[in-house]
Assembly symmetry: D2
Homo-oligomer: 404 residues x 4
């Protein structure tokens, strides 16, 4: 099948999004031979006819005014010589101004055309603009399907409210006078994008730790509209290896007494996370994983994140694990990870686009729990153990192949 | 079932053996409540009625003259206060002098009753002594079954020779005049122990990296005598986590460019490994694992082992992994492991005794390849991936449970 | 000279104090041959006839009710077998209940005889009790001189107020009705101890990061009473090596871009530091050192402290240093320190007692700035560079020796 | 003074040499504003009128056939965009083929004009060619002074022989029939370069660990010809910080029990060091430093070097230090260094050129021991302690300034 796949990205000028788009553009231009994807490592998945990077067309929304090229150079992830060679294509990436409910804590110059909620009658108007965007993008690119991919910065934590639990109530909030809606502090930007996308029949990927479509109201809408969803919070670095090391310690009956994790990062993601309420969302997402895997929680688990400028996109993590064996003998394991955040994230995001297309083709709707290995906080999944998560997807696919 | 299980250990005064025996004795004496075993972590295995530590009686051979208690105190692994409380029981551990073909590079005082090959007519005499030992031990302890567990120091590498491939030829060597047999340099002490054990119907565990029963001649004998075998080289530390991290990197399509592993250890094992020909056996065992898991070998894989006195039994490992993502962006992961060698090894050895009893009860013979997760160099196994190895055993057991 | 030196410790039941006292008692009892002191490493200082550990008699104040022996066992620093052998001597350590202005954030059971400020007419009463304690202790031990050593937990930060700048004003606060005095929030417990000690002619050591005698009012009193002082915040671990590494980087013209320091510790000190206002005092003390040494401050310097239970007194630190060379090439240095807090601190504290005696004998008064190498936040010192600090003391002593 | 300083480099196409020359060329061309030198960090030295990078003209010898530009690109240290901008200047660097006694273990294509000893009558002929080179270079560049800087690969160890101890005997070897001279295995290439340089009145810097002018015969010649010398083995990374950390541990009376150092590097230096006899020279140079600083040698000191391709010029080191405090409590410090070998070395080499000019101007001859802080194996120096070494130079210069 050679469908055209539209990929609309929330936060399209961010480090992960621009890395991902550069991969697509340099690949299409024949400048880089290969961008290997995790899903390509498994012979089983090669039978599935998943869409390739070349079949994808990119576009999206952002709150910043910088051009795509300036954003790419600011992030400093993709080699400069390559960026220079995709100048024309970068200019052609489909862009639309983002929506903003409250000013986010970023230092970039904001897009003057930013759609600020308070300037409109109600949130429904914003949703309708986003829906119109999706339709326009789809038509312009003659896309067979469009996937909406959330790569925006982490939002503050949001308490659960009744309107999250009922589609009807959620829609009532959309129709309230805008100041009333905002004062409820119950809806994030991410939920507006998700509502718009699902309404247009687009599958959605939440690569961020924020609460977006993972509320009953929107899952209900997705099931009704025949849309698959997956999330949340891409598992790219520290949590990835933690969910591989913890099962190992459990397997060997080694008792964890403490696990201290710290992260330093200097990209815009880091800057946003330097704000306590945003950081908490992320830390909560990172903390939950260990107890479930180990089967106990009487140990000291700490996760810290610090914005540390010298690093840019080159994230660093350090872990110290204290564990005990027979006779209470204490032992330690320490891990130091020097990863490039966007280089680790972009292939996962592309993979998830492929899987959304696959599952939508098969007619699956709602949260696809078998994609849990991609996420730090998998929705509706029953394990955080990385290798069990990988198995679940394989077993799901094996079942499909038997049926077919 | 409350069988009595005899456990005869080659290298019974070593750090792992004395740790294991102390666990057994302090547990039987009610001094320590619990010695958790890896096999107890899996609910599936709890249905199998595997023998417990309390059902085991210990004995074995050693080349050193020191008492069990002095050996324990020399190793410094088990807390002194506990050692003092099992004085009597330690004196009752069944001991017999070891056999020696060539002087091993150890600095301890040798047992004056050591059975040195050159003092006897042929190797068959040694084998017969070992068989008589097994019979005596079994009778004295009224053991229902005896498992022979090799925890001796690493032997030098041994080239493959025709006598390894045929039981008839192997037995011819046993009957040669002793000097002729030794000059062939084709048989290790470990093979004599294995031959004796298998002849007596005892299952055998090779926890060392040395070549012992993993030659066609002895596997043939084991099958003929209805004996299960497993080995080799217990996977306790650095190789254990390497075989969990490598699958992770492969899963995420991250290309390994180099993996530098170094080990420092200061126990007798370390001292023996300080001799190049012994170290090579160990390094070969540790090196093989990565390429098979990753599916390529165009990277720089180095494994170094250094004897470093200050550490005693507290082994330390340091790994530096260089890997690449999209656009050739280089990343690194570093691991620092501070483990207690014997505390990590002893529970695995006990588990293997339990499994040998289980498989022998079921009538399985020859190498049990489904126990590969316990070993750095699993015999007859098809993968080094730790989590796949764990799965294999579970699937094997699931099959058994369905059949029963 | 074989004077008897009295050492009165504030926080006498803490980990550092009990370690130090155990060294004194086991040394006097001939149980441990040698407790090497930093000042003994320099041949120059061997000419000074500094008092030895054997000449010291210990006593002090604490807020906790536990016995000295229970405290020692709780800290788990000194080997249990030794603790058992100094039972009698521990019982004879001179103890008196501490003073408390506000309840400190500790979890131990408080001494029921704790002298709580609100129960007395004014702070002068507390000071007089402390003065009486010092006199009693001195008489009972027939001490020639008494040194007061502050090893108490870190106090919250205290803003500078006028009463810190004038002895007269400070004394007015002592005489105010107690509630009025407390409501000013201008005096710490440590200042009361210092005032009492200086009034009694005792030299004072502030090993904590808290503000105690380092206010003009008390320095004035010390000069008037002929008392030497030194402080503050013993330089035992992370800051120690930072003040050695930073000069190295400066010497080699390597430009520091970032220095990320984190600490995990699980002793009572850690518990207290887990309270933000206490932690800030400590972090401020640790942060200041780098810019002064490097000569610039356009880099990201972070210091974090986390209470992490599994470690007890075994503090761990991790540093990541980012620096640049020619052509802006980025480089990194990472340091991982596994120290035993009290074992590192106690010898410094003993050394400072020796120096206080030495300087008092010579008639020096006020802050002794040449002892800066012992402190994270040296008072009145002109450098944080560890090796320059060491030089200053040597040069001071060389001058003395020439004069003599 | 605006002298022209000629710098003739042995190994002119190596990573350090090409980095250093690029700094000179880009600085002269105004492409990079600043190349800070260690000697510029000390206000004292700013009074000395040391020559600047701009005053230096570069040339040298090499055994490889590659062009300067290709060499630069191969090493990958200097940013590509800068290399492109100094194309013309790189072509003008004065080059001459090197001399070779025995084939060195390098994999580059050799210069077809390489002066191979066996093709000439005796070694004197080679020396005369080198002297002629120096004269030509000096004339062409109208250099006031020429410094010869040895940046060649590490040579194998060379036993001390009588001809090293007497200039007369050394010169006899130069005049022997070449095969006889070579068969004595007593002279390195580095000695021929040094002999030629000293004979031409050029000061010499040995930045390598090889034995070159550090033999009595050549020091005698240097004194006679009024030539200052300094060496050997630039102290750039691991040994640098070891000689700062060891004094710290001694100062604090912490007893080192073991120090394990390992190095991984992937540049040509690493490739040469992969040959055991060359590696030994380097390891010997790195090993000696600790015992002298600590004042004892009853600890396990290990230094390992491994050629590890993925790293290129980006050297990595890992150290584990075991030390003890009071009551024998064990502690550890671990250091991980990610340095760029050439970026660390080049500024030191330039500094040494400056110092050679300075000391030659002052009429100093023979080994300048006050430059020991620059070297891993300082000749004729009395300490390895980095900060004492730094002090020595300062004190020397202070004396000069007083005299002047």
């Amino acid at each position: 099948m050679s469908e055209v796949i539209g990929v609309l990205i929330i936060g399209v000028k961010g480090a992960v999004a621009t890395t991902l788009i550069s991969a697509g553009l340099t690949s299409s231009a024949g400048l880089v031979k290969q961008f290997t994807l995790p899903s390509e490592m498994d012979p089983l998945f090669q039978q599935l006819d998943l869409p390739t990077l070349d079949m994808m067309r990119f576009g999206g929304w952002d709150v910043a005014s910088a051009s795509m090229k300036d954003s790419l150079q600011h992030h400093g992830v993709v080699p400069k010589t390559l960026v220079d060679q995709i100048d024309t294509q970068l200019n052609q990436v489909w862009l639309s101004p983002g929506v903003a409910l409250t000013p986010a804590p970023i230092h970039d110059e904001l897009d003057p055309k930013l759609r600020i909620a308070s300037q409109f009658e109600n949130l429904r108007v914003l949703v309708d603009m986003l829906r119109a965007d999706i339709q326009t993008f789809k038509t312009e690119h003659q896309a067979d399907r469009v996937v909406v991919l959330d790569l925006s910065s982490t939002a503050p934590n949001l308490a659960s409210t009744p309107c999250h639990h009922s589609l009807a109530e959620f829609e009532q909030v959309l129709d309230l006078p805008v100041q009333n809606a905002l004062s409820l502090n119950t809806v994030h930007e991410g939920m507006l994008y998700a509502y718009a996308a699902i309404s247009e029949g687009c599958s959605c990927i939440n690569f961020t730790p924020s609460k977006t479509f993972d509320i009953p109201a929107l899952i209900e809408l997705a099931v009704h509209n025949g849309v698959p969803l997956c999330g949340k919070d891409g598992k790219t670095g520290q949590t990835l290896y933690k969910t591989a090391i913890a099962p190992l310690l459990r397997q060997r009956a080694l008792k964890v007494k403490g696990w201290y994790s710290t992260n330093i990062l200097g990209n815009r993601d880091g800057e946003v996370l330097d704000h306590p309420e945003h950081r908490q969302t992320k830390i909560d997402s990172k903390r939950a994983v260990l107890s479930e895997i180990l089967g106990y929680d009487d140990f000291d688990h700490q996760v810290h994140i610090h914005y540390y400028k010298p690093r840019g996109d080159a994230k660093e993590a350090w872990d110290n694990i204290d564990f005990e064996g027979w006779f209470g003998v204490p032992m330690q394991m320490k891990i130091n990870w020097l990863g490039s955040d966007s280089i680790l994230a972009a292939p996962l995001a592309v993979d998830l686009v492929r899987w959304m297309i696959y599952f939508q083709r098969r007619g699956e709707t709602g949260v696809i729990s078998s994609l849990s290995s991609y996420f730090k906080s998998p929705i509706a999944a029953d394990t955080h153990d990385f290798f069990e998560q990988v198995l679940h997807l394989r077993e799901e696919i094996k079942k499909h192949l038997k049926v077919d």
